[in-house]
Symmetry: C2
Subunit: 278 residues, 2 copies
């Protein structure tokens, strides 16, 4: 039975949003809705316009018989600025300061609505690049990695600091944890990362950069390539970081002050991603 | 500027899908699209019908001036059966058998498309219940917990087996790991789980039930209530399980057979969730 345009638009919206970066052919939609390809083409034009007007993302449409559409989520500069400002306000809360200068972020990084926006922000940074895998280290980086992987529609991979991997052969590296000079070890299951993968590294927090530098070593050990590194928060670090090559959404400082125990400000994300736009 | 119906339907679809279980008022949509509430009401009727026809979920519409709509994702019985059969085929792969009878599942549980369906399956089981938090234990339960939390639109909380929590005051319990008789310890940050929360426990795999029994103790220690326990895979266990009170999507057995080293079959999920339906 031929499906009405309104019903097609609703179902196509859901279908495309659930499959970012995937080309869906005109024929597929034509069969699914028992409708002419020309009607589907018109639907896609409407979808493209609405997605653009609402800042939802880009609907790339490929013309011709083999054509179709691919949804690429992004966030607009003004939405990104507003959202990062909102995060700064949420993080700048004295209750988050833990002994040792740690910052409690697990509530934010366990909130689906927050994670979806973080995923959109980071996916926007890499929207024009090929990414095959998102990599993080357990535990606190996992939610962010999963959120980004969803928006990029690629698998995510978890490196572990303990020896409890029951996932077969592993590769491990030693690294210096940023907040100390202790040598630590992290490992990854070999089968989790095929050779020649293009890898995006994400993590919750960077201080000295030792962890992300260790993750990058794991990628190289498995004959793959780091395409980028983006973290939620960057802390203050006195001395030379082991890796400076990352983007941070927020800059977070814990201060020895009763008046202002913590201060979160935008990191270099906005500048790096939207720097050249007016 | 008044927004056309087609554009409204597309944007409302996205808006509702991203906010499961949240009541969005007619007034909100009327303002957003500068349209009459009566038009928005008609839009919601179309959305409701399409969501139902496509098995996307239930759009609860509340009539009246204070009314609105709430999207509750679910999966239909036939889709659930087909998807679980597909998972059984994917898991019944000899390459997944690890030394010690462990099963490699990290690829599936790191794939956004798989996780979305798993989230829908488990959210369907609890669609008529109040859930305030999803709880799991690190590391392998996290992706599933996050996927379920997304569909239920509630925060998820991660208990840890190591002592590395930098999240302030914790509560810990001892538990017996199912695959051994060793006493282990797991802990949770107190602030992660407010008292009187209704908690859904999820995990990747159950053998002896020690871990989920430990998670349930943590919930009780924090004066909250376990509403349900659902896991991806249930293994074979000889002897008395520490907890029998859980639902499994799959039953997974590793066999001492060269012909069939592993066998995955549907768990009791289908029976429990759809048992009384024709």
């Amino acid at each position: 039975m031929k499906v009405r345009r309104s019903d097609r638009l609703i179902d196509m919206t859901r279908f495309l949003l659930e499959r970012p970066r995937t080309l869906i052919s005109l024929s597929f939609f034509a069969d699914r809705y028992e409708s002419a390809k020309s009607s589907i083409s018109e639907d896609l034009t409407i979808l493209k316009r609405t997605f653009q007007e609402r800042g939802t993302g880009l609907l790339e449409t490929l013309p011709g018989a083999a054509g179709g559409a691919r949804f690429i989520p992004y966030i607009l500069k003004e939405d990104a600025e507003a959202y990062i400002a909102e995060l700064c306000a949420k993080v700048s809360d004295s209750h988050r300061v833990m002994p040792g200068g740690y910052v409690y972020l697990s509530d934010l990084l366990g909130e689906p609505a927050v994670l979806r926006q973080l995923g959109r922000l980071i996916a926007t940074q890499y929207m024009n690049q090929t990414i095959d895998r998102v990599l993080t280290v357990s535990v606190k980086g996992i939610p962010l990695a999963q959120a980004v992987a969803e928006q990029l529609n690629v698998p995510f991979v978890i490196a572990r600091q303990d020896g409890a991997i029951t996932d077969g052969a592993t590769v491990s590296v030693n690294y210096v944890s940023g907040s100390s000079t202790a040598i630590e070890k992290m490992q990854i299951s070999k089968r989790a990362l095929p050779a020649n993968s293009k890898v995006l590294i994400v993590d919750d927090f960077v201080k000295g950069g030792g962890t992300i530098s260790g993750l990058a070593s794991l990628v190289r050990e498995l004959d793959s390539e780091v395409v980028g590194v983006t973290v939620f928060g960057e802390g203050r670090f006195s001395g030379q970081r082991q890796s400076e090559n990352f983007t941070a959404l927020l800059h977070i400082e814990t201060l020895q002050s009763e008046v202002e125990p913590i201060r979160a400000t935008p990191g270099d994300y906005l500048e790096r991603v939207f720097g050249n736009e007016r």
